[in-house]
Subunit: 434 residues, 2 copies
């Protein structure tokens, strides 16, 4: 028979089981935390009608869409989970309870130029709250990020916080008509020199005084309280600015109340997160030991999510964790270290045919006690059985021969320490759980 | 602004949050049980190169594939999880440990004619073991089905078992050269009359004696042991037949050892599961109260899974649960009854602005104790707050006003009984868990 070379399309990856187990463990942490805060799951189709998906106008993303005709339908694979959320919220507006808090963990597709660490298929893990103007809900997101990354255990991390109202209000106070250009320059200020920064601001028409004030503003540093005090001391003549400062104060107070360590969140006036999307709080998350990854969890507050589908005004706030890229990069860096190839930590192995039934019942007993247990029934020599157990990374091997069947005491080998002990079947679960 | 009507493509569905919570609960049961038996997760791309996906030749399914060109690639969305498994096993042959036990829960796409209960996108939940000839592993699948459907709690169910070797061996013993036509007729015998059955067998060339023997064979009934005794009494002159009978005996013995109730598995000689795919054990699962659904979990043993990709011979055995259709049908029938719209059972509500910080800390305390808790911060009247809690289906509402802050005792309302009690914050978790 002619063979076809088994391979995935370029830009599409997959993991070996030990890696997949680790990936799933991280996703479970995300999901568990989202649910602990009462976010409800949704799951939308992988594809949408192109007319619906591109209602907003595609712009740059449109080139990256997998779009095709099928029968009479013009279909596109979703490239994020935000547009499907807007469509879902508008379509089910009268069936949903607002504020609508949903999480969505799913695959999205983008036909990006393939390069290392860039995938054409990846998971997004989004949470959003739609239809609430309460500033308190803005504080739930950093609290959630804190819990998730604390469990991830990738070292310390910093959640950078800002509020677009502070930025926009400050520019308003400076007498600037549009803040878009200034924001664009601030957004990249960490990547350019001081001189370039000044030159660019001058280029777009700021006078020397305005340039100076922008420089002073973006160099405000210190503890969270110190930054807020400095902002207040600026005495900016803008209601928007003062609103923004009040809102970030509320945010910080709530984070302290919820027990988020002060070292993990930081007001950073340089964070803008894109040019026109966000309107209030914005978030970024940096792994302190891996700053090169950039932000691993970002988001913010936005107005008017569903305007392309409905007349209802619906504001929202949310974050997204780009788990696929984060996982890939930390796996590559050796920070994530896959170990087990099976979700079971225990394997039960009969020495021969005669011990099969007894061994099956031992495995069943362990599962009843809540211990995931694999049964290994290949008719191999004991040495090969242990080789298998070793390659799979099992923590415990329970080997059952004639003697074990007679006495009802089985041999449990701790694969880490290499120690074996004899344990009565009734006490097995306890012996394995310690 | 011109509005686009928010809608999903025809044949693509999605659920409201309360339904999604129930759907996810079922998937979690499936996943948890697969993992309890030591099956490892994999996750392959939604799309494959068409050349790879269609290596076997598409046949009927080819018409149902979402296939499109993108750049230089001819891509197709996967229509099942079996071909991706074959491709994965062949591609990673030298990195995997065999026998390779994997589970895979994921979406597949088929451009079927849209009709009620038929979806163009649905989940499959597959487990397979590749590279084991041990008949004992065949017994793990009914044991797993038993645990899953026991937890589903959709009433009693019957796992129908057969072995293709018994069927093929029996026809061999009858002197029939090809069994394909006979199998096709047996496969549909429950849908046709006795006369039609005889006529069809005669049509394909069976003589009266052969027809009689087939009739006798397919009418063998009784307990599992009785059926096996009757099969042995037939004294069929076929090694394959006798092998098949031995294998099904091993299967049954193992199921008993693993504690699967005898009422839930039944040897049924009429089960063939398609014409040429399976070569050994075959499985079907019927919900006793919903026979109209047909088989809700099927599978079997097959040879030579990866022959289109590799020279390695790799046999396998596995099952698949069609959870999307099962869920849809039982939701429609009112058997599945969604209740909560949030994964959290508890909501904490401050009466006014002054209680927000204290309330946040109460919610954080509950989450630390492992209780999923929503915080509700909309500045509404108490009546509206309770309306919200009621619509969301929360089990407990914790309302916090000035008095509660002073005394440190909060009001917990059990929404089912309507009873309220005053509980110290330190005892809240215990009070809610009972």
């Amino acid at each position: 028979m002619t063979k076809v070379q088994p391979r995935t399309p370029s830009g599409f990856g997959e993991y070996l089981p030990d890696q997949q187990i680790e990936f799933n463990r991280l996703v479970d942490i995300i999901r568990g935390t989202y649910e602990a805060y009462g976010f409800s799951p949704i799951d939308t189709p992988d594809m949408e009608l192109s007319e619906v998906l591109l209602a907003k106008g595609g712009g740059e993303t449109e080139k990256q869409i997998y779009r095709f005709e099928h029968g009479k339908n013009d279909l596109s694979l979703r490239f994020d989970l935000t547009i499907p959320l807007a469509r879902y919220a508008a379509e089910h507006e009268h069936e949903l309870v607002f504020p609508f808090r949903r999480y969505h963990i799913g695959k999205v597709h983008r036909a990006e130029r393939a390069q290392a660490g860039r995938f054409r298929e990846f998971y997004q893990c989004d949470i959003d709250i739609l239809g609430s103007d309460s500033q308190i809900v803005d504080a739930e997101f950093p609290a959630i990020i804190n819990e998730i990354f604390d469990q991830f255990n990738f070292g310390e991390f910093t959640i950078r916080l800002n509020n677009r109202m502070i930025l926009n209000g400050f520019f308003e106070g400076l007498g600037l008509e549009s803040s878009t250009d200034v924001l664009r320059i601030i957004d990249k200020m960490e990547k350019i020199t001081d001189e370039e920064f000044v030159a660019e601001l001058t280029n777009i028409g700021l006078n020397a005084d305005q340039v100076n004030q922008v420089k002073n503003f973006t160099s405000i540093e210190g503890s969270n309280d110190e930054i807020i005090a400095q902002l207040q001391a600026l005495q900016v003549d803008s209601e928007q600015f003062n609103d923004g400062v009040s809102k970030i104060k509320v945010l910080i107070e709530a984070l302290r109340t919820m027990g988020v360590p002060e070292s993990r969140f930081k007001v950073d006036l340089k964070i803008a997160r894109g040019l026109d999307y966000y309107t209030g709080t914005v978030y970024e998350t940096i792994l302190n030991d891996h700053p090169g990854l950039g932000s691993v969890c970002s988001g913010g507050r936005f107005d008017d999510l569903v305007s392309h589908y409905s007349n209802t005004e619906m504001s929202g706030v949310g974050i997204s964790i780009g788990i696929s890229r984060l996982f890939y990069k930390l796996l590559e860096a050796g920070v994530i270290k896959p170990a087990q190839k099976s979700p079971a930590d225990v394997v039960v192995m009969p020495i021969g045919e005669e011990q099969v039934q007894f061994s099956l019942s031992v495995a069943a007993t362990l599962r009843k006690e809540g211990i995931a247990t694999m049964f290994y029934s290949e008719p191999n020599k004991v040495k090969k059985k242990f080789q298998y157990a070793d390659r799979m990374g099992f923590g415990y091997v329970i080997l059952i021969g004639d003697k074990e069947m007679e006495t009802g005491e089985v041999s449990v080998k701790n694969m880490e320490t290499g120690e074996s002990s004899s344990v009565a079947v009734a006490n097995l679960a306890k012996a394995i759980q310690h």
